[in-house]
């Protein structure tokens, strides 16, 4: 592997004494809120207890804007904007839950279901799945689009884990956690549009990957049953994500210590 030209860093430590951050004010759903200029609309909404549904977002990973479920209306903007990658501006007026937004979110969810084979009843993640939960939260009781029923394989070549592309929503959490936290960058995305899928190394069986450390972080952050531990049957795959905030905190403190010359 070649040395990456930069180190991706989801929460960079920037010296604020020489780069003072501006505070600005805007409104979310008519409420006055204040934010640092480098915070996303999603982050500000969460701090103020305003619910915006998300799927690809995961605290501790960089934002990707992949799922589009966090779209919001911004007054004056013709398009809906993904709040996880949109920064606020002074006096911006954001609406998180209009009929238009709710309708598009439902459509996005339906398209996700129609694009792969999400058979919840026989899935390892049944009952513990973020996609399944979102259909309840967003009131999606059926899919109005024709299902595509694509033919997807399961790669069970890894000793401890398997990947079932039938359940993948291309949120890229596995790609990000492997790159940003584990530092292995085993996962990536291949293909375009509807033919996109996650791959290990250069599209080779996971079990033959030379970069995979077998840490299992990708499995734990996967929102659906796409990545699972072997030996788990229907509804048995419960993801454990506790490691992520701890790792983030330790690394942030480490960077702070280095920057402040403590060690």
């Amino acid at each position: 592997m070649t040395t990456p030209s930069y180190t991706p860093d989801p929460t960079p430590y920037v010296r604020r004494d020489v780069n003072p951050v501006r505070i600005l004010t805007f409104t979310i759903d008519g409420r006055d809120v204040s934010a640092r200029e480098d915070e996303t609309i999603l982050s500000v909404a969460r701090q103020n207890g305003i619910f915006i549904p998300t799927l690809c977002h995961l605290d501790g990973l960089s934002e990707r804007g992949a799922c589009r479920l966090c779209i919001v209306e911004v007054k004056g903007a013709p398009k809906l904007l993904p709040s996880c990658v949109t920064l606020p501006r002074q006096d911006m007026e954001v609406t998180t839950n209009s009929d238009r937004v709710a309708d598009y979110r439902r459509k996005i969810l339906e398209l996700m279901y129609s694009e792969r084979n999400h058979v919840c009843s026989v899935c390892v993640s049944n009952g513990h799945c973020e996609l399944q939960n979102l259909s309840v939260v967003l009131g999606m009781t059926h899919v109005r689009y024709d299902y595509i029923y694509p033919k997807h394989a399961i790669d069970a070549s890894h000793e401890r884990f398997s990947v079932d592309h039938n359940r993948c929503v291309l949120c890229q959490r596995c790609v990000r956690v492997c790159d940003e936290i584990e530092g292995a960058h085993t996962w990536d995305v291949m293909g375009r549009g509807i033919t996109s899928r996650v791959i290990t190394d250069l599209n080779q069986p996971w079990g033959s990957s030379e970069t995979c450390t077998g840490c299992g972080k990708c499995v734990q952050v996967c929102p659906t049953g796409a990545l699972s531990e072997k030996g788990k049957s229907v509804a048995e795959m419960i993801k454990r994500r506790q490691f992520l905030p701890y790792l983030q905190m330790m690394r942030r403190e480490g960077r702070r210590a280095v920057a402040e010359g403590i060690r």
Partner: protein, 177 residues
């Protein structure tokens, strides 16, 4: 007092949703004097009757008979409920959709048998190329996902309909079990 005429049926499904229906237990008995079950696997009627108020259709549309039956039910029913994941999403029966129908039949009736390998063609309805959910064929009035839908959700939907309300089942049931 006119009883509300209710029918149930299952197409390409496993009868699990009907088991959940029966799991209403004594609550089913409590509404028994207000409903009449006029058709379904639980009663003896041979043909789907006219003028049914509510029909719960379990199962996906997997063969020509399912499709005819569903269209007949739609004509004769006021409120059609897509009952359970197979009806709503085609669910497990649709897992064969990833393969060609001829390959599926060959796998089941030729490749994996040791005696008289032959695809049956007499006395059984013709399978459709793909298994599909109900609403791709007919208009559906209420979707009750779940594998199976919990009996509480079925009871809620039925009692709401009996009281003349539009059933609100959000949060009471979901895809999967």
């Amino acid at each position: 007092m006119n009883r509300v005429r209710i029918a149930t049926t299952w197409l390409d499904g496993c009868s699990g949703c009907h088991m959940s229906f029966l799991d209403m237990d004594e609550t089913l008995a409590a509404v028994a004097d207000r409903i009449e079950i006029v058709y379904g696997p639980l009663v003896d009627a041979k043909e789907f009757p006219d003028g049914v108020d509510v029909t719960l259709v379990e199962g996906a549309v997997g063969n020509a008979h399912d499709r005819e039956e569903l269209e007949r039910i739609r004509e004769r029913t006021h409120i059609l409920i897509s009952f359970g994941d197979c009806a709503v999403t085609a669910n497990v029966p649709a897992m064969r959709n990833q393969f060609k129908l001829q390959d599926v039949l060959k796998r089941g009736y030729v490749d994996n048998v040791s005696h008289h390998p032959a695809v049956p063609d007499a006395g059984v309805p013709k399978l459709l190329e793909r298994v599909r959910p109900l609403h791709e064929f007919v208009a559906v009035d209420l979707f009750l996902p779940g594998c199976p839908p919990p009996s509480e959700a079925i009871l809620l939907a039925l009692t709401d309909l009996l009281e003349g309300r539009t059933p609100e089942v959000q949060g009471k049931t979901r895809f999967g079990a």
